[in-house]
Amino acid sequence: MATLINVPAKARRGDIIEIRTLTSHIMETGFRHTMAGALVPRDIITSFICRYNGTEVFRADLFPAIAANPYLSFFTIAKESGKFEFEWIGDNGYSSTASASITVE
């Protein structure tokens, strides 16, 4: 699935940096019905995890009221050069990952 990640390419040690993520997902609530009256089964992302060089720095639980293509923005402190890894987990065994690197001076 298409994913858009915004992590600053460079930061100074100790800087507070903003990370923004956007991922494709229909986020079907499970409350809607088809024209024929059948319930459309729930299909949402249920959790999001961000790891900074292997250490979890941010986690979020997502619920049916969250809009399609969830956008998440959060902050962390730039400690060392390395990699941010992102993981989205959802219904029906959904799993998607992405990563971005940062250089800390």
Binding site: A2, T3, L4, I5, N6, R20, L22, T23, S24, I26, M27, A67, A68, N69, Y71
Partner: protein
Amino acid sequence: MSSWRAIAAALLFAALPALAGEIPPDARRSGYTFMGPDTRAMQDDDTSNPGMLFVLDGEALWSTKAGSAEKACADCHGDARSSMKGVAARYPALDKLLARPITLDQRINLCRANHQQATALTYESRDLLALSAFVAHQSRGIAITAGDDPDLKPFVAQGRDLFMQREGQLNLACSNCHDDNFDKRLAGAPITQAQPTGYPLYRLEWQTLGSLERRLRSCMTGVRAQAYEYGSPELVALELYLMSRARGLKMETPAVRP
């Protein structure tokens, strides 16, 4: 001072009937200018614009082989960044063989049928929206010139007639809102000039990307008229008229609208 204001106001009101009707070229504004700062910021930043997710999907589809001809778009058209630059700003365009204007979506499907020997993508399907968003994205910042072809004149006129014609149980024409009453509000939402600068665009209400035809059809449902079918000559003519009406405005695909 107050008498001057009264005179100015009187002049303004006197000028109003003259303003109603078609919008002069220098007063044409993209729907972007009617949005709040949050929605503008969402459109301006490519990592927060959800339409860009579809552009990314379209980019992948561009170089994916399809159909029994085993050809990808890129096999004929090469790098879209140069070959597709400015193309969407000229659509709907005349198809010489069909002797009528066709939309970008229809062009993509014609290409699939004739050159890829692939099945047509259904209107508003994710793949078709992604491909047309990717193609139209290559024209971002380019001024719209659709409808300049003299052979398109009768179709632009047809679209203009449809735009001016009252329809539906509410008996409203497109022009009643979008020419005569833009900048006012309808149920709390701003009425725009209906300049189709950013299609296919991401509409927050839809929670997905949608085509101009989807937008037109939902407006028709709004005035309780029977909406034309996707790809119908009437919708294409309307689309062509709207694009020619937006002449000179810059493409924004993928735009974000509330």
